[in-house]
Symmetry: C2
Subunit: 560 residues, 2 copies
């Protein structure tokens, strides 16, 4: 798709996956790294450069052979890139050398972001003395984070200062480095967003994901993050805003903290593909690696092209780290081969304890299925995380008045019992018609799949909502003080041709909820399974009663 | 995942994609083909062999450097493989050299299959004389197929003999080759199934797909094929049965004809990855290339691991052929970059008219979306194929008696109008209780997403079906000869807690159908769109009437 050659500083797994994406587009790549580095293995060329990306002459040698330079790691010799940019304006370097230089120093990076109005943990530079660290303890309180400004990754170079007694060991651990301190962010989740900055400065983002660290190394990534839509939107906005402040094109990994109170703080930015974006290879039409290649060459990206492949696509990425005994990590890899929906990506590296050897992407129609498959791959050692808090609602329960709540709550309890994410609120057709309009017209785009509407008397709510949405609407006639609820029943069920309301029996919110679950189950297998279990249990209940009736006889049964 | 090195005879695009899959599993590959062949480009090695896969010494050289030998093309020197197998029993060769040899001769291949009881077009060997060809015309009738027994691919070596006057030109075109003739198969569709034969002789298959040829070259592949489930099952069964008759492990591409009368005939078999399986790279968790690598190394494949990624995954593959003017095919490639859900795979080849340069996979939640995106990629030149015949039903309409049909047919017409695949039948709760049981319990596994049940009087059908399935059931009370249908309404709507029936108004099958469409639309965006258009149209209708009423006054309006 482009006759220019891309030079990549660094040939580890990120470089390798960049090369894979480039080759699929017939784009040539040359690598600077040690001989036989992972990226070099999958691109035959006599023009790769052997050496280090921190060695100025090696960088210059690569630069002399390519049209576009980029990086798979930020710890490159940025000074020589800045010089090269001046000497050879025709050589494109992405992201801009100044951006790489700025991001390399995590304290300068943070100052830059805070200066641009990006929410981030409060940070101060420190002198490497006990007095300086004590003063920070007094300012920030404990714990606080002591961090190396440079050459830090995968948690190396970070130290949690829990109390004043930690200070001397913290200094001992990090004393050889330039340091800064960060106020402690008490986070609920760690989020990450991959952002593409295009040559014209515009930004596009992948969905916000949730990262789970283990021993300071990325362990699992849940895509999308199990957070409300509003948080998802805010996370992407913050990430795009942050990336927009840097120069040059390419993909950026933005790590964030979601605090207990819902606030989102930017943690740090990587000016390159990122571990939290590996899921995109199997879960999105365009991977983060291809997006980077396209961005630095000025090739376009489809509208919405960074979304998950389908509305029901969910993914979990599991990192494969070198085990303590040689090739012990292959056990997990072997289990991935026999797990449906799992795809194994190995990096061509020599195994070493804790080294990133590969990753496994698990893709399925729901996070529940992904988690089940993850458990299979992990074996019995690690339990399934069954956390599904904050899932966005699939069913909306609305009612005309709080007096309907005792009836409708029964349905809500059924949804809860089945683990269906739902919401409950009051919407009155006659008293809040505009609220009703907004609710009905927005429900589908918010991800609601079925609306349950309860109403009594004239009972216009279900029918009116049905008229303003294309979602299935289930009507529950609520029994009023007169006419035994037949008025509500007729008002709800006798809809004119064209606007159906799925009407259930008077006061029977249970059936409304079960019907909503059937609607979901027709497309979401996990609910199908739960429904089958439910019907087995209600059958058992009747059979139990029958057994007792047959045993004690009907007269005694009646007398109980 | 395996320390053995795989040698591949042939380094075109199929070899290249095999290499890509192997590299992701840390499996080393060596290629025999011309220097810088597509597969060699993406595997750095000084041990690749330059030369031809028909040259015995080159094949022997590759064999000396690897543990396992396989092919990306069947036109290799099979004799040397047979010798090698005898000389070096420890060298694994997949598929077995005898299999490759047998399949190379298309006439012998066909005789073998027919001998094993596989349905295939009747075939006879011919002498290259006009008399012989005339005799075949008398035997088979016209048209018939004259085919080269060897070295044929992409339609080269095939000649349609339409009548006796074609015979001399047919002979002229093919006279230098050994020939055979096939009886003409008047097919409705061409199907293909990729089958994996494992080392233990067991077979696994991907879904049956539909291939569309253009100038005898594969143009489009629809996955899954737009055929009824029963045909899908028969096609896979036939393909697996055929592949089971060959020795050795690996993937086989099985091409078939679906005849007008529903019969399926085997066309031909390729003992290697196949163009009709390229969709698996983006639409299945495990691609045909990875499946081949796993099969020849004896690595396992997940149960159901060859299925499409999710129950709603649909895919279209478009081949990118070299255009008549240099790089003209890049126009289609560029449009694919801006098309959501499209993934471009280029093969690193020099462009030449008609040459397979790459392919584009389009994946979406429905075939309708795939086709829309395909049209975008193809530009205005090619119209969208809107063929959706034979789609499996999403909605089942059932009724207790044929006397309910006039009411229920109105709903069927609505489904038809919306392009929803559906089925209509009679199921009586009281007169065919076992048929009802079968219908209700099997509906979900057949792919039905919603059942519409109409009944009058005691009207037990909707409720009984709801009790025996977890699908959403919509009940239509049909007005009987007495009680104005209120008896049916109450019988259907007043279900006990636990078993909901979505009840619509008396005789209102329209609303039942629209409700079923809403259930689908909550998960299938194409119906959402159609519903929105429908509601705009009924709004327009009312507004039109209002305009007339306001213009001519209510008295005149009434008198009309």
């Amino acid at each position: 798709m482009d006759s220019r050659t891309i030079g990549i500083l660094g040939g580890g797994q990120l470089g390798r996956m960049l090369v894979e994406a480039a080759s699929r587009l017939n784009i040539d790549t040359l690598i600077l790294d040690a001989e036989n580095a992972p990226a070099k293995q999958i691109r035959a060329s006599t023009l790769h450069v052997n050496g280090s990306f921190s060695d100025a002459s090696a960088v210059r040698e690569l630069a002399s052979r390519v049209d576009v330079l980029t990086v798979e790691i930020e710890h490159v010799n940025a000074d020589v890139l800045i010089e090269l940019q001046k000497e050879k304006p025709e050589l494109e370097i992405h992201p801009a050398p100044d951006t790489i230089k700025l991001i390399q120093d995590k304290y300068m990076q943070k100052m830059h972001l805070i200066g641009k109005g990006i929410a981030a943990p409060e940070s101060v530079s420190v002198e490497n003395t006990e007095e300086s660290l004590k003063a920070i303890g007094s300012k920030f309180g404990y714990p606080y984070m002591l961090k190396s400004r440079t050459q830090a990754y995968d948690g190396r170079g970070n130290y949690v200062v829990s109390s004043v007694v930690d200070i001397s060991s913290a200094l001992k651990a990090l004393s050889s480095r330039p340091l800064y301190a960060e106020k402690w962010a008490q986070f609920r989740k760690e989020l990450a967003v991959m952002v593409v900055r295009q040559k014209d400065g515009s930004t596009l983002s992948y969905p916000a994901v949730e990262t789970i660290q283990k021993n300071n190394i990325c362990h699992l990534v849940y895509a999308p993050a199990r957070i409300p839509d509003s948080v998802q939107t805010r996370a992407r906005y913050l990430a795009e805003k942050a990336v927009a402040t840097f120069a040059g094109a390419g993909i950026f990994g933005v790590e964030m903290f979601l605090l207990e109170d819902g606030e989102i703080l930017l943690n740090e930015i990587a000016p390159r593909p990122h571990n939290s974006g590996h899921y995109t290879i199997d879960a999105c039409p365009t991977s983060q690696f291809e997006a980077h290649i396209r961005a630095i060459l000025g090739l376009p990206i489809a509208k919405n092209g960074l979304a998950l492949s389908t509305p029901t696509t969910n993914a979990i990425m599991l990192n494969v780290l070198g085990a303590d005994h040689p090739n012990g990590e292959l056990e997990i890899c072997k289990r991935s081969l026999i797990t449906r929906g799992a795809t194994l990506h190995l990096y061509g590296k020599i195994t070493r304890p804790g080294r990133k050897m590969g990753h496994i992407n698990i893709v399925a129609g729901s996070m529940y299925e992904c988690e089940t498959r993850l458990a299979q791959i992990q074996g019995a050692d690690e339990a399934v995380s069954s956390e599904i808090e904050d899932e966005k609602p699939l069913v909306g329960i609305i009612m005309g008045s709080d007096s309907d709540l005792p009836v409708m709550a029964v349905g809500a309890r059924i949804l809860k019992q089945f683990g269906v994410p739902f919401e409950v609120t009051i919407v009155s057709a006659h008293r809040t018609p505009f609220r009703m309009t907004k609710y009905a017209t927005e429900a589908a785009t918010r991800g609601i799949r079925t609306i349950i509407a309860g109403a009594g008397g004239a009972a216009h709510l279900p029918g009116m909502v049905a008229a303003m949405t294309t979602l299935p609407v289930i009507g529950v006639p609520v029994k009023g003080s007169s006419l035994d609820g037949v008025d509500s029943l007729h008002s709800i069920v006798q809809m004119p041709r064209g606007i159906p309301v799925a009407t259930v029996a008077i006061n029977n919110a249970t059936n409304a909820a079960l019907l909503a679950i059937r609607n979901l189950a027709a497309f979401m297998p996990e609910y199908q399974l739960k429904l089958e279990q439910y019907y087995i249990s209600i059958e058992d209940e009747v059979l139990g009663k029958a057994a007792i009736l047959e045993k004690i006889g009907y007269e005694e049964y009646l007398s109980k």
